[in-house]
Symmetry: C2
Subunit: 306 residues, 2 copies
């Protein structure tokens, strides 16, 4: 086991070092310096974008992207492309927190963007983070091969838009009035949180120059990991202490939202979580000991007591 699954303590170091690297790339991309093709960067809007995107989180999505790319032999640094993905995640949090959406006032122990600034600024900050993601992905410095960059733009757009994350948020809002069944909840989650996690792994493979069967294996790993991520989150929500999480918990249950745990029962949900982790591991078989970090990542995601 020691070669195939990275030691947990070492994994946490690697995750933390990666997060610091991504933070530096994000700080650079979110500086006030006007970039080619731009006219001016309004200071207040840049501040709101930085408030959302800097100084927080484990940076799981860019980590998965970079680790997936690292399975293959590319000289290109995946950090910029990985951070383009993180910008999409950040925009989605800003817009999901808006009063008309989930109406959240705190996020990672800080006021949300529309509280710290105002609603109009939060809408524009989300729009601008979303747009900057595609800008960053398209830059020549992100990957030398234009064909790879454009494929990443296409995959990221499909994962983020009406048929992916944004569509999943729509299904989630509709679920407040029309209680979904298990298959509908699974689809909703595959879109709302799963699509970006899937892209992280599939996109990393594309960045690294994977062949089609390798890319498919990582896409499936990302799908299983995404489903495990959401199930672990739902299970955590059953028991977590509000102070530990830094946000309101038990909220889904209060709102009467059908989570998978509610629909399946806790025991079946824990079994399904184990099955998904096994599925994620199986997808990594072709990569042997090279995938030691990604195997540990699957275990990490499934035990979200952190």
């Amino acid at each position: 086991m020691s070669d195939l699954i990275l030691d947990e303590a070492r994994f946490l170091e690697v995750l933390s070092e990666s997060a610091q690297q991504f933070e530096a790339v994000l700080e650079d991309g979110l500086s006030n310096s006007v970039q080619p093709g731009e006219i001016a960067r309004p200071g207040r809007l840049m501040d709101a974008m930085r408030h959302s995107a800097l100084g927080g989180g484990k940076r799981l999505r860019p980590f998965l992207f970079a680790q997936s790319a690292a399975l293959f032999s590319t000289d290109a640094d995946p950090a910029a492309a990985a951070c383009a993905l993180e910008l999409i995640h950040c925009y989605s949090l800003v817009h999901d927190d808006l009063p008309a959406m989930d109406d959240d006032k705190m996020r990672r122990g800080k006021p949300t963007v529309h509280i710290a600034y105002d609603e109009a600024t939060a809408i524009l900050a989300g729009d601008s983070l979303l747009t900057l993601a595609f800008d960053l992905m398209a830059r020549e410095t992100t990957h030398p091969d234009a064909a790879i960059r454009i494929e990443l733009v296409r995959l990221l757009a499909a994962a983020s838009g009406v048929g992916g994350m944004a569509g999943g948020q729509m299904f989630d809002l509709m679920a407040e009035t029309q209680t979904p069944d298990q298959a509908q909840v699974q689809r909703l989650q595959a879109m709302k949180t799963g699509a970006l996690l899937r892209f992280a792994c599939e996109g990393g493979a594309v960045f690294g120059g994977a062949n089609p069967s390798q890319t498919l294996a990582l896409k499936r790993y990302g799908e299983a990991l995404g489903a495990a991520f959401q199930l672990a989150d739902d299970l955590l929500d059953l028991t977590a202490d509000e102070a530990v999480m830094g946000k309101a918990t038990g909220k889904d249950a209060e709102a009467g939202k059908g989570t998978l745990v509610n629909l399946m029962g806790e025991k079946a949900a824990r079994e399904e979580l184990d099955r998904l982790v096994g599925e994620a591991m199986a997808c990594l078989a072709p990569f042997a000991d090279k995938a030691a970090v990604l195997r540990r990542t699957a275990l990490f995601v499934a035990s979200r007591d952190h």
Copy 2:
């Protein structure tokens, strides 16, 4: 003059035919069919996106894109790339109309998206139109050359984001409390409405395979045209009849917003408009009679009594 500037009646025919062609491409892109990489398209969200993007407008931005591309010898059809640009314009209208932004209830004689649906759906529809724009631009069917597609993604992102359109909307919101001077208003307008019009012309040149000096000429044409567009709009706003426009007019003046016409006076504004049209025409000199449509477009934009 007859060879260098297209006859107005014929121009209006070409504009209308183009709008029909773009409408068909937009209908296709906004169908409920799930696309590669997507999981499902929520019907309500697709309806809201269609409400915004279909059945309205002169389609000036995609028209400029396609006409700029047509100056060069490419076999590729610019309609899909032109419609990607139009999707960006549509998203910006949906978000600008939101209660937290300009709070508009009518647009092109129809209820705005947040009135016809709800605020959360309007936020997501805008996000999804924005994302779909980059998806469409990135598709292989949009242009066979990946290097051209990725350059278009980058230019479109720079024109739309914090350093372009979205940043211009931020400056516009800030102008409600801090009255800007003439230079600040010109910068705001160059970003809020100018950047997309500039991209239409510059991006069309890139699509067509223009050389750098040709691309620069069209970029400058687009800048002059964008400034003329806004000035003509401000002048129209002084006198237009509400019923003719289908939206509230005189609104900028009521809100005490500093328009260029207010700051310069009407006479100087009309002289500046003439100067800008002359500048736009001068940029087209290298293209001789090939630019007959674009010359008429500049005159059309400057006389917005339609």
